[in-house]
Symmetry: C2
């Protein structure tokens, strides 16, 4: 269907169409020429850079070091860990020719880097003094995607992958939880996304992991998004690649390893956690522009406002606020207001001759909320940075609260099947489960819901499985939901 290029399907009408329209319309992405690939445009990439900076700071502050491992991995590496190759072989892209010749061994483009990093760690680690080895890389990943969706599932995506080696299981488990904590904190503090920490059921583990932990967030259509995962590998990869160390006792021991990743998928999560019928709503911590200033006036008057608008922007920038002046004088103020609303800018300032004469600018919030006063209010130009800084902090907190309220009001404790089916149709169900993979599969076939996680902070509970009536496993309720 041909749509007006400017229009975005309302979220309330069709969530999926809204998302697909919006990512293009807001110039976050474009389609790459190869099916399932995306071009991340500057406005989308800036959100990713802000996320990266936040996460990279947490990773470095805890003693991890960044490194870079090759994109191309000999196909035979994948085969050394049986579950790993089973999980990834169907998704890999294979290089068979290079430099004008057929290669002796095909190479895969990394679908993840456990194997090549395992190979290098085996070379680098010899003594207990080399442990823990705490590495991270920022990289692109290719996994051939049958049902691509911008940011959420793309054939190529960007991520960081942490890879660590430890002397024993306890230390590796501490690391697994530390990394899960990074993701939770980035989600909550930067993305205003009240993600839940939990463990995956065996059926949903990373191929080759002993335990997989996740943060799960609720989107505004009630579906779950897995927004970051942290894996405890035990000695699976260390055994496959010979990552060993000499202990203080002199014994040769296998390392315990972990890996953990967060990707550009997170940008999709931000869009679906906060957006509304008008378009994006960006949390200030991740907004490319936190404040947009629109010069207002008839005829030449708007252009005369350019200088004071630029001075105001400079004042804000000096205070660390990402401010932008919209100097597209060929466009009407109304068009610009809609445009920046659609692009999710938290605060807009209008600056016209009468405002300037009064020493103020007129502020609008992307979303008004309780305690925020009227839709538009004047802000004194003198001291605007402090005032707007406080507004941005309040806006960020409001988004987190709103998303938390939404999540909580769409999460039901359920004890019977009809209630379960009703709950997962619009949100999450907290339910007991027997732990059988076959039973999980039946639930998925009937409702499209899967166990998202065993929440770490769940209360002790036991009884009958919500589906089959068998005795419950895990000692607590699981979160079930339909997922991206």
């Amino acid at each position: 269907m041909a749509r007006d290029e400017r229009s975005v399907t309302p979220q309330s009408e069709d969530f999926s169409a809204w998302y697909n329209d919006l990512v293009f319309r807001a110039e976050l992405v474009d389609r790459g020429p190869v099916r399932g690939t995306m071009v991340i445009r500057p406005y989308g990439y800036r959100i990713w850079e802000l996320l990266q900076a936040d996460l990279d700071g947490r990773i470095k502050a805890t003693g991890h070091q960044n490194a870079y491992f090759p994109l191309l991995i000999p196909q035979s590496y994948l085969e050394r860990e049986a579950e790993h190759v089973e999980g990834f072989a169907p998704e890999v892209a294979v290089v068979t020719h290079a430099g004008g010749k057929e290669l002796e061994e095909p190479l895969v483009i990394r679908p993840t880097s456990e194997t090549i990093i395992g190979e290098m760690m085996a070379k680098w680690i010899s003594s207990h003094r080399d442990l823990p080895m705490l590495l991270n890389q920022w990289a692109n990943i290719v996994r051939w995607e049958m049902r691509p969706r911008m940011f959420l599932r793309t054939t190529e995506f960007l991520w960081q992958e942490g890879h660590t080696a430890h002397a024993d299981a306890d230390d590796a488990m501490r690391e697994t939880m530390l990394a899960l904590g990074f993701y939770h904190d980035v989600a909550v503090q930067a993305a205003a996304m009240p993600a839940v920490k939990g463990e995956k059921t065996p059926n949903e583990r990373f191929p080759g992991a002993e335990r997989t932990f996740t943060i799960e967030a609720m989107m505004r259509d009630g579906r779950a998004l897995q927004a970051g995962t942290s894996h405890f590998m035990g000695t699976n990869f260390a055994g496959a690649f010979g990552v060993r160390y000499t202990a203080e006792s002199g014994e040769l021991e296998l390392c315990h390893t972990t890996s953990w990743g967060m990707s550009t998928r997170m940008v999709g999560g931000v869009i679906m956690t906060h957006g509304d019928d008008k378009g994006l709503v960006l949390p200030p911590a991740l907004a490319p522009y936190q404040v947009v200033i629109v010069p207002i006036g008839r005829g030449d008057q708007a252009q005369e406002m350019l200088q004071p608008a630029t001075e105001l922007a400079s004042q804000l920038k000096a205070a660390g606020i990402r401010a932008h002046v919209d100097d597209r004088f060929q466009l009407s103020p109304g068009f610009k207001f809609n445009d920046w609303e659609m692009r999710g800018v938290p605060l807009r300032l209008e600056l016209g001759p009468r405002d300037l004469a009064a020493g103020t600018a007129l502020m609008s919030r992307r979303i008004s909320y309780q305690g925020s006063g009227d839709a538009k209010e004047p802000v004194e130009l003198a001291g605007a940075a402090a005032r707007l800084g406080a507004e941005l902090t309040a806006f960020q907190a409001m988004l987190l609260q709103r998303a938390t309220d939404f999540r909580d009001s769409h999460t039901k404790i359920v004890n019977d099947w009809p209630s379960f089916a009703a709950a997962v149709a619009t949100g999450w169900a907290l339910a007991l489960h027997c732990g059988s993979t076959a039973c999980e599969d039946e639930i998925k076939a009937e409702t499209a819901a899967t166990p998202r996680c065993i929440p770490l902070d769940g209360e002790p509970a036991s009884g009958e499985c919500i589906r089959c009536g068998g005795p419950s496993a895990y000692g607590k309720r699981l979160i079930f939901g339909r997922a991206y």
Copy 2:
């Protein structure tokens, strides 16, 4: 030949072996499993991150925006620009299978991104109001390398590539020179590398460019390193991909485009510009650790120094100095001194009980120089940050001066062939040339030297070609040298 794992061939004995030994010994890199690939280890990657941060700041400050374009490019894209495909086709890696199937059209892993970005710019640009479009991406690149060398020529490398579109040739040429200026400034100010700005001869242009500009730096063996290039494409790529805009006049016009890149090769340049027989010498601006503190003492005394050493490091870190405490108590101070010298740390501080009692630490510079006083001197712990900050600034300036002196003393103005051959055996020759590609090839066959660039600031000069005696071209002398 089996070497002691700790030893590095002295630079003065064999420059090439010195380089190859050092990059591994200093833990900058390791070999990847696929021939010609490298693993960039944390110590090497940190140098790259510091370079990135410096360059990214310059790129953003001038209105460019980062974006990300796909890794995989349809093979047919390369073929749209005739010189481009001729230049890159022999070097590409080709994906023929993905997702368990053979692909309908083979995909190449980007050897550079002019084609895919041209395709997208054609979609995004319609009016003169969309211009200039100023994009940059940080990405990995694959070019199959027959004679790999760590950092300098690797099958995969990291770089940034700027791609811009402009309304006219003048604006595109201004951009080409702006980007060349970024590279020159990063080289001089961050890498302490007195690079020369110049233009490439037609024979050395980027495939598809109308003009290619370069910064060329002299390594300590007298060879040249091309450390960054900036290309004026005219309308070649815009024509091939249909990058057009409607001018204010209403006419449909082709854009003029540019591209420019600097890569991890630059790290190799830093090593070869400043290193010596003892190992690396890192400019403070790019040193992962600018100051290393070694606790000193017999038996438990060294451990007792750990706390004051850590406090000193905290004082320095708070002042923005990258300080590190070497707490490897199983190793002797002598071993550590050699280790950090080899790894190129600008300043070392020894802290023992007597130093502490005197309220000082004993400072050593990686290289002593005129005006720097004795090899070791005490530094007051109170106020150490200010003192060391000044030392680092002086050290950085000294390296630039030393490299400039080296370059100047190894550059000769030559007017006859024997002098030319002698000059390029140990450094650079400034010589007149006829401009013929065949003549360039003859010079290369006989001396291994190539025209590095036509220096932008060269004095007007003309006369006979140094090789064939024909009339000189370019109106000035060229820099000739053997190159990496």
